[in-house]
Each structure stands twice: as C-alpha cells, then as structure tokens.
C-alpha cells in the first residue's frame, strides 16, 4: 500500500514514539541517517528463495505467542548482480496492536552477527511476515531494515490461507512522490522462484513421499532405483504419447519442445556395441572385485572380534 509521509519531522516523531522500549541513541541516529541519506538502492530483479526459509517461517508462525496475529523475522542471504538469494531466516520478537507496533531491533542485529560467525557469506537481505496484509507498520519495519541493507526484500507468506492457498509474495520498496514535497514509498512486487541446493531437493522429495505420515529415511539404494525407474518410465510414456499425437496431427507441433526432445535423445552416447560391452564388463568386474574384498575384510574383522573375546 501507499504510505504518505507528511514530512520528515512527523515521520521521525512517529518512529520515536513506536520504538519506546527498545530504542537508544545509536538506533535513533541510525534511523535519522536512513531517512536523510536516501541510501543508494541496488536494483533487485529477482528473488530466489530456498525452501528451508519457508519451512522456518511456517514453524515460527506455529510457535507464536497467542496474542500475536502475525510474526516477523529477518531474512539472510546474499546479493548477486540483481538477484537476491535468500538462504536462511530467523524470527524476531515483536508485538503488534491496533495503535502501535514494536520489535526488538537489538535482537535482530545480535542474531545477525551470530549467524555471520557461523557462515560469513550471509548477511541480512530483508524481512518476512506471515499474513498478506501490508500496512503502515510494514513500512516502519521496512525502514529499520533499510539500515541493514540497501534494498531489503519483504517476503509475505499467507499462513492463514485466505483463498485456501498459501500464497507467497515478495516485494521491494521504491520511492514515489515529488521531491521536497509529499514523498513516500510503494511496495512493488518482484518475481521470485523457489529453488534450493541439491541436498534440499532430495529432502523435499523425501518429505513429499511422506504425505502426512511418519516415515524413516530409507538408505536402501536399490529401492530408490526401482522408484526412480518407475518415474522415468512414466515420464517417457508421457513424451511418447505427445509425439504420437503430433505425428497423427492431433496436437500442434512446437519447435522448442522438438529441440528439447532431440537434445534428450542425443544425450545417449553413440558407440558401437563392442566398445560398450567391453566398458560395461570391465566396470562390472571392478565392482565385483571390490565387493569380494570388502566381504573378506568384514569376515576378518568379525573373526578378530571373536578372538578378542576369548583371549
């Protein structure tokens, strides 16, 4: 929403009134600097969110105090050429009533420092809040985060699920208005994508197999192979049916799709069958030899353990 500021002094007085509990000279001067300095904002074109951040926010929402309707916290990550990558988050205690809002800024800065000790690559890149409402309190909190980083990203996730969906939105603020007159900032949406490291994808896949039940992670590779094979077969079937439809003229032919299918087919290396069987056989023999050796070693260990008992 648009929050019109009626003048620098009014804004400062309002902020000072809100920060009654947690303020001290350092923070006051910082905020004054932020409103005066018009810090150079770095352009943000896209936000990449790691799944672990969303899980943290949902967990934080579930653990909130009963009188809070929403929770806020800091987002940590890094900034890379117009793309903000959010890798972690932590909750910040805050209270919100009809008249005023207050948050523990010292807490936010302290935990930010602690996290930097563990992982020096991460710094504050924005903040999150549960619930999709963006009001004047949001802009106040956003002003605090402007001290921490030039272009903070504001992430909202609808844990109340208004439309039966958990909508996720990311915004940044841009200044609007007339200079030396009525100024303000507007929250504009920024495109985001949810993308994690490989290990995160694997865990996500595992969680999806849970489907609400409890499950033990299964380290048995062979079962994994079977399930992945089934997946692959079904995917190949889908592609085959589509190709058949295109050949029969039922579906329109798409150049992009065709090129991608050709890439997949050409990924299989084209060698004559002799070299292939040779390679595979030698590889197989290596594996079998290693397995025999390890089997031997294990038997030896077991025998020595028994001997230790007797002697």
């Amino acid at each position: 929403g648009i929050n019109a500021e009626y003048g620098k002094q009014w804004y400062q007085r309002r902020v000072r009134g809100v920060l009654n509990y947690y303020t001290n000279y350092y923070y006051k001067s910082n905020l004054r600097m932020a409103t005066e300095a018009r810090a150079v904002a770095l352009p943000v074109r896209k936000v990449i969110i790691h799944p672990v951040v969303l899980f943290n926010i949902v967990d934080n929402y579930e653990r909130r105090h009963d009188n809070n309707k929403r929770v806020i916290g800091s987002l940590l990550g890094r900034y890379d050429k117009g793309v903000v990558i959010v890798t972690e988050s932590f909750a910040v205690p805050h209270q919100e009533t009809e008249e005023e809002v207050s948050m523990d800024m010292e807490y936010a800065m302290r935990i930010g420092e602690l996290q930097k000790k563990v992982n020096t690559n991460m710094y504050t890149v924005g903040w999150y809040s549960s619930g999709i409402v963006i009001n004047e309190y949001s802009s106040l909190i956003h002003a605090f985060y402007k001290c921490q980083c030039p272009t903070p990203v504001h992430l909202t996730i609808d844990t109340v699920m208004k439309d039966q969906k958990m909508k996720i939105n990311t915004h940044i603020t841009l200044p609007i208005g007339v200079k030396n007159g009525t100024e303000g900032c507007i929250f504009t949406p920024v495109p985001y994508s949810i993308h994690g490291a490989e290990a995160e994808q694997v865990s996500l896949k595992f969680f999806q197999q849970l489907r609400g039940a409890k499950k033990t992670p299964n380290f048995n590779d062979q079962e994994q192979i079977i399930t992945s094979c089934d997946d692959m077969i079904s995917q190949i079937n889908i592609v085959l049916t589509h190709i058949k439809k295109v050949l029969a003229g039922d579906a329109p032919a798409d150049k992009e799709l065709g090129r991608q299918i050709m890439e997949v087919v050409q990924a299989v290396p084209n060698l004559d069958s002799d070299t292939i069987t040779n390679m595979l056989n030698s590889h197989m023999q290596d594996l079998l030899a290693v397995e025999y050796l390890t089997y031997l070693t294990r038997q030896q260990l077991a025998v020595s353990a028994r001997l230790n008992q007797i002697l």
Partner: protein
Amino acid sequence: SSGINAEYGEYMLEMERSLRQVNIDYQQVGFYQSTYLNTHCDRNFLDSVFDYLEEMNEAIALIYDPLKTKLGNLCIRAFKLSLAAFELYKEDKDFTALMLRDKSLTYQNLFKEIPVVVKNSTLTNVLMCELDKVQDNTSFFTLPTSSYLEKSMQLLLGGLDEINQDLQKLNMHQRAVYKQQTQIMKHAQERKDENSGREKNGLKPLPEEDFTKMFKAPPPVGRLESLLSANRIASHCEMIEEHVKSGIGKLYLADSFMS
C-alpha cells in the same frame, strides 16, 4: 584451542537465550555433525557423545552424510553410545582388554544406532503441497564413478594400517609382559638357589619377597583406538557394498539404453 571452545560456549549460550524469546524449544538433546564417507567416528566424536550423555540420558548424535544425500538418498542417522561402552568410558578413557572382555564389548556394539522417523506438522504439509509444482529433478542416476570408490578404498586402507599399528603395539606389550614374567621367575629361582646354598652353609635364608614390586608391570595397552578403527572399517565396507550393489543395477540400466 581453549579460545575456540570459549567462543563456542558463548555462542551456544547466546543462541539459547535468543531462541527462548521466540518460543523455540531450547533444551539441548544432542548434537549433529556432518560426515565425509563415514570418517566421523574418531576420538573427538566419542568424547562429544560421552559429554552429552553424561548430562542427559537420552542425548543423541545425528550424523548427516551430504555426499550420499546428493546422490539421491536422504541419509540421516542417529547414534548413541551403548550402555556398556558408556560405563567403561566413565571408568577409563582408554579401554583395556580385560574391561572389554568383562562387558563383552566388540566394535559392533560400541555405538547403538537408533531409527530416525521424520514427521511434519500439518501446516508444513500444506506448504509441501504448495511446493509440489516447484520440483527439480535430482541427478540420481549417476553411474558408479571411480572417484567415490577410490576414496572409499583409500580410507579403508588407512583404517587397516591403523589397526595394524595397534596390533603391533599390542604385540610389544605382550612381549614386555612376558619378559617381566621371566625376569620375576629367574629372580625367584636365583633366590631359591641362594637360599638352599646358604642353608647348606648354615646361614639364615634370605626372605623370598614378592618380586613383582621390583619389576614393574608394563602399563596395559588402550584398546579404544583399535575399536574405533574397526568400527570405521566396518562402516566403510558397508558403504562400499551398498554402492556396488546399486552400481551394478545402474550399469545394467545404462546397457539397456545404449545397446
């Protein structure tokens, strides 16, 4: 390194205090650690597990294997020291062979593995449904590369070397004990001979003391390191076997593609 420990302790206290403010469970129930091809099983690890177990009886150690998880299988395991090992470690930091035999402790029941169950709250499950559409495909079908096998084999050889060294130490110890025993026997024999000689000459016999005080017994060899090495080697073997089994399956798959 005491400086690092102090910093670590400070960090933990700060985090605990801060987590309490946002209603997150702050009671310590153990620790987690990442491992590289199962090499985590060494003395430091044992010390940490022991420390946590002393404070809380139900403390566990979570081991996360990032390499295996990357290959497509979420690998998190929970370990505890077995009861016998815990009591032994309390008494003596370097197990002796006698103690091991008393409690019938082998490398197999040094650590107790506890099954891990993963459970999500309902709201998190809703989030999972939302993220359903955002799935990337993982690179699961990587052929059994030689580098993974090579590293495992190297580690296996290293473990075997360590066990060998331990065995040599044990051998030396046994030789020292044997030497001490023969010395005692020789001395006792000499005394007896002298005594019988003196009796013949009519002198008072010399006392036959306990000669074990004169020749000190060599200190018993600690068996902890060899137990840990054996544990490590066993886990390496298991890993290699699993890898080989799935590798053979993947090779057949690749064969069906290419022929």
